[in-house]
């Protein structure tokens, strides 16, 4: 047990180190790939777009960097930030260390929506273009159903909401399994690949789609950090301190679910980011959400881009599914955290 709360200098050092890690992730995201392009030339090209100096990149290299790697890297930053901040927020709002952004059925809903698109509507070898929209709709329907079942009435608690999420997830997952069982092997393979998550199909269009959701949701979650600190004393005491617990819960769960649904609909299900990133940050800077959430935004972004860099290089020219890499990195880290922490019942 930590005897003293983390000092300000420690928090500043961790914050700066996280920003440096983000810088490294951005550089690796742009530089690493099957076509070797030096960092200096990429920087020179970026500066030339601002009107200074001349680019030394060929047209093909410029396309590779700015139309393939850059949107993929930016989408990774957005996805990592969103999943990490949503996970941290859920852990705070439900006072449950095992909460992740998929707790209330986002994953199951998105999975069912994507499966519907791919299995029943999709033709040909690729995933239909409307898959993200059906995935997004499925995710929002699932979270809406969870909220409708679990958060109504005077006797609703965080536990009833979580249990409703479990029930809704089970229902949506069983429907998805049924659809898959009725479909062709090729469709099952495409659904499976989608479910594992990937940034491979990233482009500036997909970035544009998710930016507003992620921006709004991250801002809401960051502004809710102080309220989450108050909620850490329990619902009743938080109310006695002057916090409208139900309103805060509705706001942050709504924002987190919306942002997560937007991300999941574009990149698929990427596990572990939402659960391990806030826990690692918590170990480093203590339990205040005013420290955990901002640093998780930056660390989550860096973590996912670094994992994606591994995913697309370790077995090049083919790619590992991003969800596999985050799980391979995340699972051992998570086990270590579990063994280090002595969580009480929440």
């Amino acid at each position: 047990m930590r005897m003293t709360a983390p000092s300000t200098s420690r928090v500043v050092i961790v914050g700066l180190a996280t920003v440096a890690l983000l810088g490294l992730a951005v550089i690796l995201g742009l530089v690493v790939g099957p076509t070797p392009i030096a960092t200096g030339r990429i920087v020179g090209d970026a500066v030339s777009h601002l009107g200074w100096g001349h680019s030394t990149l060929t047209s093909l290299q410029s396309t590779i960097v700015w139309q393939l790697r850059a949107p993929r890297m930016v989408l990774g930053l957005l996805a990592g930030s969103m999943l990490a901040v949503a996970g941290g927020t859920y852990q705070g709002v439900f006072r449950n260390p095992l909460a992740d952004p998929y707790l209330l059925g986002v994953a199951a809903g998105a999975g069912l929506g994507a499966t519907l698109a791919i299995v029943n509507v999709g033709v040909g070898a690729s995933v239909p273009v409307w898959t993200p929209w059906l995935a997004f709709a499925g995710a929002m329907v699932a979270v809406g159903a969870t909220w409708f079942i679990g958060a109504r009435g005077l006797n609703s608690t965080p536990a009833t909401l979580v249990l409703a999420g479990v029930a809704v997830s089970a229902l949506f997952t069983s429907a998805q399994t049924f659809l898959q069982q009725q479909s062709s092997t090729q469709s099952i393979a495409r659904v499976y690949i989608w479910l594992l998550g990937s940034l491979a199909s990233a482009n500036w269009g997909s970035v544009q789609i998710v930016v507003p959701y992620v921006a709004v949701c991250v801002v809401v979650c960051l502004f809710a950090a102080r309220a989450l600190d108050v909620m850490s004393v329990g619902d009743e005491e938080a109310r006695s301190l002057g916090l409208s617990v139900r309103s805060v819960r509705l706001l942050v769960v709504g924002a987190s679910s919306l942002g997560t649904a937007a991300i999941v609909s574009v990149v698929g299900l990427i596990g572990f980011v939402g659960i391990i990133v806030p826990h690692i940050v918590r170990l480093l800077v203590g339990t205040s959400y005013r420290r955990i959430l901002p640093i998780s935004v930056v660390f989550g972004a860096a973590f996912l881009v670094l994992c994606d860099t591994v995913a697309r290089t370790v077995m090049a020219p083919s790619e590992l599914p991003l969800g596999v890499v985050t799980a391979v990195v995340g699972a051992p880290v998570f086990v270590v955290i579990l063994s280090l922490r002595r969580w009480g019942t929440t």
């Binding site: 005897m3 709360a5 004393v233 329990g234 009743e236 005491e237 006695s240 301190l241 916090l243």
Partner: protein, 264 residues
């Protein structure tokens, strides 16, 4: 009793949990700068009544008025400026420092979107000094001893700067010295700062030693209400608790002793 001498007013308060009646038609008036303790056997409805007094439960009937304001007409933030509450088993978030924890008491004043003002920080510092917690301000609350921890919880409630403080079993789990220390602290807040305290206590001796007034609750009804000495001496006490009690006077204070019946 007129409004000018009433700080807390319970008017025909009823509480239910489903079909079960927890508290039935309780009416009480508590004067400012006094200490009223609610006693009674387990299951009497004490915790339900004090959480209603703190505005944390929906009443099935009646209303609670504090300092002229009906609690059911206030939102959470306004209510937290009127009455502070200490739960029986307060949750101390792991890793949260004493200063951070006590500062939670100012949330109702600066809100969750803004940091504490200089005035908020000064009030927190003042409470930490007054309760001799200033040296622990950077310590994690969970690393404190039971007595220090309970003092920290009291400090959080006092940081709310309310005129009324409601406490549910504030001394449970403390040894006798820390029980006395905490109750002396509360007594000082009542006599020197004009705080109105409403608490539940299981220890009848300590309740009679520190309290101006005792309210005996049994099965959700007020059975007795009066000066501590009169209530403690009453035969109703023994009936409600279902045990023989003797009251011994030691140095002017009433000491309540249970009598053990040994069957031959």
């Amino acid at each position: 009793m007129g409004d000018d001498v009433t700080m807390v007013n319970l008017s025909h308060v009823g509480l239910r949990a489903g079909a079960t009646t927890l508290v039935r038609d309780v009416s009480l008036e508590v004067a400012p700068a006094t200490w009223c303790t609610i006693i009674g056997p387990n299951g009497a409805g004490k915790t339900s009544l004090v959480s209603a007094l703190a505005g944390l439960r929906t009443l099935s009937s009646g209303h609670v008025t504090i300092d002229g304001q009906r609690l059911d007409r206030l939102n959470e933030r306004a209510r937290a400026r009127v009455v502070a509450y200490v739960a029986q088993h307060p949750e101390i978030p792991p890793g949260m420092s004493v200063h951070e924890y006590v500062s939670l008491g100012r949330i109702a004043f600066h809100g969750v979107m803004r940091p504490p003002s200089a005035a908020d920080r000064a009030i927190v510092d003042g409470v930490l000094e007054r309760l001799e917690l200033a040296n622990f301000r950077h310590r994690a609350g969970t690393s404190l001893s039971g007595g220090e921890r309970q003092r920290m919880v009291l400090a959080r409630a006092l940081a709310q700067s309310t005129k009324v403080l409601v406490l549910d079993e504030p001394i449970s789990g403390l040894d006798v010295r820390h029980q006395m220390d905490l109750l002396e602290l509360l007594k000082k807040e009542v006599s020197e700062c004009g705080l109105t305290v409403i608490a539940t206590l299981h220890d009848l001796t300590l309740a009679s030693l520190f309290t101006d007034r005792l309210v005996l609750l049994d099965h959700g009804d007020v059975v007795l209400d009066g000066a501590a000495h009169d209530v403690i001496q009453s035969a109703e006490m023994q009936r409600s608790y279902g045990v023989a009690l003797r009251v011994v006077s030691i140095e002017g204070g009433d000491v309540v002793v249970p009598v053990r019946h040994v069957h031959p």
